[in-house]
Amino acid sequence: MTTNSDHIPAQPSATEDVPTSPAKQVLRMLWRDKLAFFAAVFLILVILCAIFGPMLFEEEATRQDLRGRNAPPFDFSRNWLFWLGGDTLGRPLLARIIVAAQNTMMVAAGAVAASLAIGTTLGLIAGYSGPRTSQVIMRLADVIMSFPSLLLAVIVLYMLAPSVGNLIIVLAITRIPVYLRTSRAEVLEVRERMFVQAAQVMGASTRRIVFRHILPIVAPTLITIATLDFAFVMLAESSLSFLGIGIQPPEITWGLMVSQGRPYLTSAWWLSFFPGLVIILTTLSLNLLSNWMRTALDPVQRWRLEIARKKHG
């Protein structure tokens, strides 16, 4: 739409000039944005920890030594698992961080996936159905939005046990309206587009239009939001731990570690610093990656990642 495109000659056969595979292209664009590249590397590391951490270090991470509690970090004469110090019960902090990655990732990924799926489905229905259904769904979203997440946490965790699964339920419910509202707004816009009309003219069913035509268009926006939400959910989980209504030991998450280490900030700062740092790095990585994604997915901005930069930032 911008007149900028007028400057640029049409390229009817762009793909013929670019022999590289899409995956390679993505990697190259990632490499151009160094911050995003390191973010991606860090996230892969976190995911590896989440998958293999408990298998490898469960034992070490739970072995207590009350008399060796709060061991200071950077004591390189000890086992490397103690390089980040020991916790209040003398357990190696690094091992615990690695093991906790699994629960942390499960809570965040579970909550985001569930709210994404439910919110988007409701949003698609609200956006494409009649005003009455739409109203009912939107009022429901209002109710969920004004329902305090703390109360919800207390209710769910009281009636069910405070487990990873139930925490996912709590966090997922509170995040539903975000996806619901976004997908509905997008649907309202996309359904007016001409290719949707073209499908209607061909006699496509509502279901086909919604899932084949609208959803793929809406998906990138929702996935970008989900990336950011992943970070948000991790922080929310740690806040719940701080208030004492989150996950309960002996299960561990990074958020729980930060909140358990918080009382020792003045005496053993590393207890909450390192898990806090991992949370910051993870959310930061997600944010950077989502910024990168937004640029990469936007045809108008994409060139920024494609031209070689003269000076690297």
Binding site: R69, T88, L89, P162, G244, Q260, T266
Partner: protein, 501 residues
């Protein structure tokens, strides 16, 4: 614009400096761990209400003084009239903050109000549950108080009874408490602070502290920081890890006892060998000076050493994991289902480092072969597991609890924790019921001996619970004050006892 900004800054600076300057005079700022819900004297057994109200605003009939035992307060003397009746002679020349003078009628009214059913008073519910109290005013300064069933420790019970004027409404909590104490209640800025100031016509000695402000911060690090920065003078309750400055931080036995309540009704906990194995599995000493404060005592009974009948001869169970494993094997050989899953229930925020404590305990139990899992509940849910009626379908459970008895007599504890129909009792033992009843009815040295025997029976014979620790509390006190916390600091904070250096 710039000039104005400068002025604003100057005013701001002036106000903070003024605030600090005020603190230099004869006023004291106390920072409590949670905000007061109510300022009602009959609720003063709650520690944060007590620290404001008890003996500062409202005084009690008698008073327990650490080291000296039961002492007169508003009553000057008392005698047992027999048949459950005690006669109290009241102090003369005492006036309430509203100017009215203190008489027997006020005491009678306070007792009726505290134990009545129009409002639920914590002092009534906690100390006078199941006891019918009647009063008989002999003259203006003499009153007969009768308890049914008879209470040999009625004068002790009266140390909890806060006295309010006879005009105080029976059916609602007061918003501005009026008492006979050395301080009047000035103002409550809800969410911010409470202020007290010195009562001119107080019957006792003129205190050094002329006014006090109470603040509320739920975070221990913040409370200790406030004393460190001079924003507050006393933080009566800070966490062990925040008590880092020996010059300002005082440890005191806080009359709290931590233990694991064992449910004797459910297998395998109904087997004494299993209970002993539980006791032997815990390395109690490892907690002291690590997760818990230095000075924490290993417990053998429900009440702290300063209590009547404390049995000093009992030895805490030693750490003997091998023996514990053996005991379990023996029990298993006899067909006891020692491998059934036991739930260890803790309460979030119950005491400092409760999480670490529970995790360490869990690890120790698992090490000797118990199949155990930990559940941390918040208070409402925890209460369901701790108090009767218990759920029908509960499995074997250990409930971690902290019990407070600062009143010098085990009677406040033993019935509830160990009698067959005690609310939090996991034990149904007729012999123990008889022992508690006998000790409750006894007086003097006999009472002391009976309690002592009871403790021994619970600890050694039936291995009732997993007793753990008598806890230590920490207070941070600004060095300009001459104030040393005692066991009573857990429930009250007498401003009149504070002086300046």
């Amino acid at each position: 614009m710039k000039y104005q900004n400068g002025r604003v800054a100057a005013i701001l600076l002036a106000t903070t400096i003024a605030g600090q300057a005020m603190a230099q005079e004869q006023t004291v700022t106390v920072v409590l761990s949670e905000e007061l819900d109510v300022v009602e004297p009959c609720m003063a057994s709650r520690s944060n209400i007590g620290r404001v109200v008890l003996q500062n605003i409202a005084e009690t009939v008698t008073e327990i003084v650490p080291g000296s035992g039961l002492q007169p307060r508003l009553a000057t003397s008392w005698e047992d009239m027999g048949g459950g009746t005690w006669r109290f002679t009241l102090r003369e020349g005492v006036t309430f903050h509203d100017g009215s003078s203190f008489t027997a009628e006020d005491v009678a009214h306070s007792i009726a109000r505290t134990t009545g059913d129009q409002i639920v008073c914590e002092i009534g519910a906690k100390f006078f549950g199941g006891i019918a109290i009647t009063t008989d005013i002999v003259d203006e300064h003499t009153i007969d108080i009768t308890a049914d069933p008879a209470q040999p420790i009625l004068p002790l019970l009266m140390s909890t009874m806060t006295v309010v004027p006879a005009e105080t409404p029976m059916d609602s909590f007061v918003e501005t408490p009026v008492g006979t104490g050395p301080y009047t209640f000035d103002e409550y800025n809800v969410g911010q602070n409470i202020t007290l100031s010195h009562y001119e016509n107080y019957w006792g000695d003129m205190p050094e502290v002329l006014s006090a402000t109470y603040l509320f911060r739920s975070d221990s690090a913040v409370r200790s920081a406030m004393v460190a920065t001079g924003e507050a003078d006393i933080a009566p309750n800070i966490a062990v890890q925040d008590a880092t400055d020996p010059a300002t931080d005082y440890a005191y036995p806080n009359s709290e006892t931590v233990y694991l309540r064992v449910d004797h009704e459910i297998a395998p906990l109904n087997d004494v060998r299993v209970r002993e194995a539980l006791n032997l599995a815990v390395d109690r000493q490892a907690f002291v000076g690590t997760v818990l404060a230095d000075g924490t005592l290993l417990a053998t009974g429900m009440t702290p050493p300063s209590t009547l009948g404390y049995n000093a001869e009992l030895e805490p169970y030693g750490y003997d994991p091998d023996r514990a494993r053996e005991l379990l094997q023996e029990a298993a050989a006899d067909g006891v289902a020692v491998d059934s899953s036991i739930t260890l229930i803790g309460r979030t925020g119950n005491f400092g480092n409760v999480l670490e404590t529970m995790e360490a305990l869990l690890q120790m139990f698992q090490d000797v072969g118990f199949n155990m899992e930990l559940q941390m509940f918040e208070v409402a849910e925890w209460e369901n597991s701790y108090s009767r009626p218990f759920a029908e379908d509960r499995g074997p459970t250990l409930v971690a609890a902290q019990h407070d008895n600062a009143n010098g007599d085990p009677v406040f504890s033993m019935y509830f924790k160990y009698a067959s129909d005690g609310l939090q009792s996991g034990i149904q033992d007729p012999q123990l019921d008889d022992m508690i009843a006998a000790a409750t009815a006894a007086t003097g040295e006999e009472r002391e001996q009976l309690w002592s025997d009871t403790f021994a029976y619970i600890h050694d014979e039936i291995v009732g619970d997993v007793m753990l620790f008598h806890m230590v509390g920490f207070s941070r006190v600004n060095p300009r004050l001459a104030f040393e916390p005692t066991i009573k600091t857990n429930s009250e904070l007498q401003l009149a006892q504070i002086s300046f250096n």
